[in-house]
């Protein structure tokens, strides 16, 4: 009964989504206030019904109702409660429902905070979001119903994929989806502006906080996914250029470009058509990512259960949304050109370069992701382009990007006097180059051109991000401090600097070593002695495991003890690696059990990863920067001002 209620609620949500699309759009066109007002009510109702539906699925998981096919396939009685909940989005059908729920939640948020917006504009935004909702609800109901029954019900379920039985992965998809779906708001704002035909600087101010929030969540989601891959897949890498990772990374890159280009549009009224295009692209890439993941068109370690009908549905939806948006764009954009000029040395120039480089980076990732598909279609062979290509190709736009970043922050709008600019930047530049040589040499005892460039660039970003906040601190009194949005920018860039140093050091000085080890034996990796004390059997709720006790010593002194496990999940009979990690800000020491070699001997993968934590710390700080930026008073004051005007 409960699953049927869930399905019925989903159908009602679809009906409301249709109302939410048609009435406000028509109302805005006719100037009919009553019809426009329906949008908000319908959005609230839609959210409630989707929430009921989601609750029903969660209930089915919690009560282990294996007469629901989706539950039978992705849960089992012995599954810990936390994972029974996270199993709701552990596979295609449920994660789609989560997507729909989040879209409804974003819509509700927009509807609730839209009182400062002109009524017709708000109505159009809600209408466009309703249209997207229709697409996803139809997708769920027609091709991926999570409430399908399985009669007769099996006595026990097939268990959640053991890879997903991890707290990090329980919250990774929701964060990622909040980000993905959040770009639909920027998209809806762009479409609404194009329908009405007037796009001014206020538009950019309304769009900015929404975009930043979406970007923040996407940043956190990607970082969490990377962290999870690091400790759970047992390989010790943090990024694999897997098709699905790329699918989340492309919207992030374009979203980053969008945040910067919105700044130009808000402050200077420039780049309007370009900003619109980025807003459309960011969301389109989110949809493309969904398509790639769920159609099975590209083979990936993450691929969901694949189904060609699903692929065709998403592709059709993608085509309708993107082609519709771009036709509107081709029609409206020509009238948006602005004739305000800017100097060659100006913040506008740097932000333009930022945008170009980020778009080039996205294009390279897209090419690398789709290349295997092209080759397969032409030759029939399956190839993998792999990390070597990406690592090199991606560096090409990224190096200039990080160097220009430090300069751009200290450049004024319109035009900047070159000598004043040079006076601010020369000392940081020299310090950065010196640090670029010293950091690798002093701490790691080796230096190369790439290391100097990497460390120097990181130091350059960190120092130049700190100039402004430090200055405003030193100024002590006085109101001319730093605005929240400038502080947010500095913090986010600081995070970027930490990220760059982490990547540089870990890729240059990380050590990986696969060796055989048995109790009583020791091996030495990167100056640390790894001593296997013993092996024991451990039992978990739904797995049994072999656990090694390993002591790590440095110069005979005990640094830490780690307990890597090899787990066998009882239902799916699959083996999982649970790495033993001694985590530290300066370095990680990582031990994972590989295969059993003999009676007691195991192949062990030992890794020394200096500064790897900086990669995720950097991402976390970037997101924090976003949080600070959206707390800027301007966004709230701005909305009040428009309210007063209206």
């Amino acid at each position: 009964m409960i699953p049927e209620i869930g399905q019925f609620a989903l159908i009602l949500a679809l009906a409301l989504a249709v109302c939410q699309t048609i009435l406000p759009l028509v109302g805005a066109h006719r100037g009919d206030a009553a019809m426009m007002a329906v949008g908000r009510t319908a959005a609230t109702g839609q959210f409630l019904f989707v929430a009921v539906s989601f609750a029903c699925l969660t209930y089915s998981f919690l009560t282990s109702d294996f007469s629901v096919l989706y539950v039978a396939n992705h849960s089992q009685l012995a599954l810990p409660t936390l994972y029974k909940v996270s199993a709701v989005w552990g596979a295609h059908e449920g994660s789609l429902l989560l997507w729909i729920l989040l879209l409804a939640a974003w819509t509700l948020a927009v509807a609730s905070f839209s009182s400062g917006l002109p009524k017709p504009f708000a109505a159009r935004v809600i209408g466009v979001l309703g249209f997207l909702s229709i697409g996803f609800l139809l997708f769920a109901l027609l091709t991926s119903n999570p409430f399908d029954r399985l009669i007769p019900a099996p006595a026990d379920g097939g268990d959640l994929n053991p890879l997903l039985q991890d707290p990090g992965l329980a919250i990774h998809p929701p964060l990622l989806y909040i980000g993905y779906v959040g770009f639909s708001v920027a998209f809806a704002f762009a479409i609404a502006a194009m329908i009405s035909g007037d796009l001014d600087q206020k538009w950019a101010r309304w769009t900015r906080p929404w975009t930043t929030v979406a970007w923040m969540f996407l940043t956190l989601g990607i970082a969490l996914g990377s962290w999870w891959a690091y400790y759970e897949l047992g390989w010790g890498g943090w990024w694999f250029w897997d098709a699905v990772e790329n699918a989340s990374f492309m919207p992030w890159l374009i979203g980053t470009a969008l945040i910067h280009s919105l700044a130009v549009t808000e402050k200077r009224g420039l780049f309007k058509s370009w900003t619109l295009l980025l807003a459309i692209t960011a969301f389109s890439l989110s949809l493309l990512g969904t398509f790639l993941v769920r159609s099975g068109i590209i083979v990936s370690v993450h691929a969901f259960a694949t189904d060609p009908t699903r692929g065709f549905f998403i592709l059709t939806f993608l085509a309708v949304v993107v082609i519709g948006a771009l036709v509107l764009y081709a029609w409206r954009a020509p009238s948006l050109d602005s004739d305000v000029g800017f100097g060659l040395l100006s913040r506008e120039t740097f932000l333009l370069l930022n945008n170009v480089l980020l778009v080039v980076a996205t294009a390279l990732v897209l090419i690398g992701t789709l290349a295997p598909l092209v080759v397969e279609m032409m030759t029939g062979g399956k190839i993998s382009i792999g990390p070597p290509w990406f690592n090199v190709a991606f560096l090409v736009p990224m190096l200039p990007l990080v160097i220009l970043l430090g300069m751009g922050m200290h450049t004024a709008w319109r035009s900047q006097k070159a000598d004043a600019w040079w006076r601010v930047l020369r000392i940081p530049a020299i310090v950065a180059i010196v640090l670029g040589v010293i950091i690798p040499l002093l701490f790691y005892g080796r230096v190369s051109l790439l290391l100097v460039v990497g460390c120097g660039a990181a130091a350059w970003i960190v120092i130049s991000s700190l100039i402004q906040p430090v200055r405003s601190l030193l100024r002590q009194k006085g109101t001319a401090g730093i605005t929240r949005s400038a502080l947010g920018m500095s913090v986010a860039h600081l995070g970027m600097g930490l990220f760059v140093i982490g990547v540089t050091i870990v890729s240059a000085f990380g050590v990986e070593s696969d060796q055989a080890l048995q109790p009583g034996e020791s091996i030495e990796v990167a100056g640390f002695e790894f001593h296997m004390v013993g092996l024991s059997n451990v039992k978990g709720p739904n797995f049994s495991a072999i656990e090694a006790e390993i002591e790590i010593r440095n110069d005979g002194k005990l640094v830490s003890k780690v307990y890597p496990q090899k787990r066998q999940y009882l239902v799916q009979k699959s083996w999982m690696t649970e790495a033993g990690i001694r985590a530290g800000l300066d370095k990680d020491l990582f031990v994972a059990l590989g295969d059993q070699l003999g009676q007691n001997a195991w192949s062990v993968r030992v890794q020394y990863k200096p500064l790897i934590r900086f990669i995720w710390l950097g991402a976390l700080i970037m997101a924090l920067g976003g949080l600070i930026a959206i707390s800027d008073r301007r966004y709230r004051a701005g909305s009040r001002e428009t309210e007063a005007a209206a």
Partner: protein, 177 residues
């Protein structure tokens, strides 16, 4: 043409390309390197009697289904009634490979639910599964009278899949016996 049309053109090109990619093959039919090739040779004890062995030779001469199953596999339970139905109709000889399972539990399963298999091989350590490129249970292979693997299906078998993918691939429409 105004320059604002170019994004539209680029996207349409990309979409056409993706449609072609999707058409290019049913992605669920993971390209098994064994399709069109002789079935990998094996020789395993049968489930019910360890003294007797069964292998590729046993199946020769007829179209045959080779169904990979296990008691821990929920979807095998879901497809089981349909296998029984096929066996009752004498649609095709069905051989099982009981994969990474416990012999006692597997025999009890067949006693409880019925046995659609002419015989089941007992692949305790999954070695034959590796030779056959098995991703997971259930998987079903269609082997032709010359011992060539004609088709492989991932996931539970049902009447729709059976009609669409299997019957059409057997010359003589499934009356191979």
């Amino acid at each position: 043409m105004n320059r604002f049309v170019w994004p539209l053109v680029a996207v349409i090109a990309l979409l056409v390309f993706l449609v072609m990619g999707l058409r290019h093959g049913d992605p669920r039919a993971l390209p098994s390197p064994f399709i069109g090739k002789p079935a990998p040779q094996f020789e395993l004890p049968t489930l019910k009697n360890p003294e007797v062995t069964i292998g590729t030779n046993t199946m020769a001469g007829n179209y045959a289904l080779v169904n990979v199953w296990a008691t821990w596999c929920v979807m095998c339970r879901a497809e089981h009634p349909f296998l029984l139905e096929l066996a009752a109709n004498k649609a095709i000889p069905i051989y099982g490979i009981n994969w990474r399972d416990s012999r006692l539990e597997a025999i009890r399963w067949l006693d409880d639910l019925g046995d659609p298999y002419l015989a089941s091989a007992y692949d305790e350590d999954g070695r034959v599964g590796i030779d056959w490129g098995v991703y997971g249970a259930p998987e079903t292979f269609l082997v032709d009278p010359d011992g060539i693997v004609v088709y492989k299906h991932l996931g539970p078998l049902d009447p729709v899949v059976w009609q669409r993918e299997f019957v059409s691939r057997m010359s003589g429409g499934g009356q191979a016996q």
